[in-house]
Structures are given as structure tokens and as C-alpha cells.
């Protein structure tokens, strides 16, 4: 029998966010904001002063917490840490790339579509037919 990774279940998990200010404000209005007793939030506001290291650290922190189910990340921010995002492969938390006000969604950079485009690669299909 093949080994299957166990899916962690949880009755009350958070949605983390790494995005621009307007997107964060919008989702906080929808009630997803959480601040723990150590004043750690479940979001990182990305602006012109935010460094790539800060984004990487936030991504690593959110993806290692077991109280977070989904990490929302603006696609333009994900592009800054593309290697880290594409090499992440755990089922939970799920990473969802979202558009931002100034950067519309680009399917060419979507990590899920990048993974599955192999099946539409003409070389791989031609290889089967030889």
C-alpha cells in the first residue's frame, strides 16, 4: 500500500495574508485579522519599503504555523520569492496567489498552472507517440 501524507484537520484555522495595504484592509474588514497575545499578526503589509527578506521570513513563518490553513499572497509579491513559493509542496497551509490592484492576475506565473502545463507540452506528447 502506497504511503499517503496525512491531511492535518483543524476546526478553527486562520487565513494568513501577504499583500498590499488595500487588499489587507479589505480582508480584515471581512474578519480574518488575528493578533495573538505576543502581538503577532496573521498578515504582512507589503509596501515600497518592505524587503525581500521580510517577505521570505513572513512566508516561512506562515507556512510553518499549524494554526494557519491558507496563505493568501499577492502574485506580484509571490514573484519576488518565486523559488520559495514554487518549491513549497505541503497541502496545508495552501498557498493561493491573488491579483492586486496594480498587478492583474497572470496565469503564466500561477504555481498550480506551472506544475500542470507539463501535460500540454508538445514535446512530452510527441515523445509518447514515437
Amino acid at each position: 500500500m502506497a504511503n499517503r501524507a496525512q491531511v492535518p484537520t483543524n476546526n478553527s484555522s486562520l487565513i494568513a495574508m501577504i499583500a498590499d495595504e488595500d487588499t489587507i484592509v479589505g480582508f480584515l474588514l471581512a474578519g480574518v485579522g488575528n493578533v495573538d497575545i505576543r502581538r503577532k499578526t496573521n498578515y504582512l503589509i507589503v509596501d515600497s519599503k518592505t524587503t525581500v527578506k521580510q517577505i521570505e521570513d513572513a512566508f516561512k513563518e506562515f507556512t510553518s504555523r499549524d494554526d494557519i490553513a491558507i496563505v493568501l499572497i499577492s502574485q506580484f509579491v509571490a514573484n519576488m520569492i518565486r523559488f520559495l513559493v514554487d518549491s513549497y509542496n505541503k497541502p496545508v497551509p495552501a498557498i493561493l496567489e491573488i491579483p492586486s490592484k496594480d498587478h492583474p492576475y497572470d496565469p503564466a506565473h500561477d504555481s498550480v498552472l506551472s506544475r500542470v502545463k507539463y501535460l500540454f507540452n508538445t514535446e512530452s506528447v510527441a515523445g509518447d507517440r514515437r
Binding site: R4, V7, P8, T9, N10, N11, S12, S13, L14, I15, E21, D22, T23, I24, V25, G26, F27, L28, L29, A30, G31, V32, G33, N34, V35, D36, I37, R39, T41, N42, I45, A69, I70, L72, P91, V92, A94, L96, I98, P99, K101, P104, Y105, P107, D110, V112, R115, V116, Y118, L119, S124, G127, D128
Partner: protein
């Protein structure tokens, strides 16, 4: 020959499942973009009427508080993928009460009315961070982003489905090559 035909049917079924889930994933991402655009527009209107200094992240409450909108993670039927369910506006005073869980059993009208009051209370609490007198556009922004959250949860579940069917199809393709 019969076995080959059966295998072909299974492969076709897998391919169709994959294409279906991919199509749904792309439709949902398109719908999300549209909803978010609406939300950003409404937020810009709210900022215009209330003033940018009142509607920004510097007014956010950094005192310890729990999220009102959370997620429940369960396993799907075959236990291979996570299934996400949105739990909107769960009162921090009554954390065990799921106010807008889609899987809730039917309620009587008194309970529903009380739940709606709780939801309104939680929504107002979220809006009150930006002051007492708020623009109707800010309420509209809240509703748009709530809708965006629902779409995002559908995307998360569809994503699991896409990756699962891709893995199965990829395995079939590799087995065929051998």
C-alpha cells in the same frame, strides 16, 4: 483487448476530470479578479468620502483579538486532500457557535434571527475599527471581500482537485512511456 479498452476508458475519465477541474479553477480565478476589483473600487470610494487617514492600516487594532472568520479543515472522501470550509463571523464570545457554516442543520426562525444579529454585531465590530461614522461604501467593501473569501475557499478546494487529478494523470502518462 477488453482490458485495454477498460484502461482506455479509465484514462479518458481521468483526463476529463483533470480538464474539468482545471476549467473550474480558471473560471473561479477570473471571478475572484472581478470581485476583488469591485472591492478595491468600493474601498477607494470609502477613502474618498471618509478620508485616507481614517481608512488605512495605521488605525488597525493591534491588541490581542481572534479572527471572526476562520476555516475548518477536514479530509475529503478518500482522505488524500484537505477540504476547506469557511466559517464566517463566529462570535469571539461564543467560539463554539458556527454562525454561517454552510453545513449547519436547518434552524428555527428565532435561532436564525439571533444568529443574524450576532453576524451583524461581528460585522459592525470589524467596521468600527475605522470609526463610528462610516461610509456605506466601506460596508459594501466588506461584503465584496466576504464574497472574495468565499471564492478563494472554492479555489483552494478546486486547486486540491486539480493537483490530485494531475498527479494521477501524470502517473498514467509515465506508466505508458515505460
Amino acid at each position: 483487448m477488453e482490458e485495454d479498452r477498460r484502461k482506455d476508458d479509465e484514462d479518458n475519465k481521468l483526463a476529463l476530470q483533470f480538464m474539468d477541474s482545471l476549467h473550474n479553477y480558471l473560471s473561479l480565478t477570473h471571478s475572484l479578479s472581478s470581485t476583488l476589483r469591485q472591492g478595491w473600487l468600493e474601498l477607494a470610494s470609502a477613502k474618498h468620502s471618509m478620508g485616507t487617514s481614517r481608512v488605512n492600516t495605521s488605525v488597525l487594532d493591534l491588541k490581542s483579538h481572534s479572527a471572526s472568520t476562520t476555516l475548518k479543515i477536514t479530509e475529503n472522501d478518500d482522505g488524500t486532500q484537505p477540504q476547506f470550509t469557511l466559517q464566517k463571523w463566529v462570535s469571539s464570545e461564543h467560539e463554539s457557535t458556527k454562525l454561517e457554516d454552510k453545513n449547519e442543520h436547518p434552524q428555527d426562525s428565532d435561532t436564525k434571527s439571533s444568529d443574524n444579529d450576532e453576524v451583524r454585531k461581528e460585522r459592525d465590530k470589524s467596521l468600527s475599527v475605522f470609526g463610528v461614522l462610516i461610509s456605506p461604501k466601506l460596508r459594501a467593501t466588506q461584503l465584496s471581500f466576504e464574497k472574495a473569501l468565499e471564492t478563494l475557499i472554492d479555489i483552494a478546494n478546486m486547486r486540491s482537485s486539480v493537483l490530485n487529478s494531475f498527479t494521477q494523470l501524470h502517473k498514467e502518462v509515465e506508466d505508458t512511456k515505460e
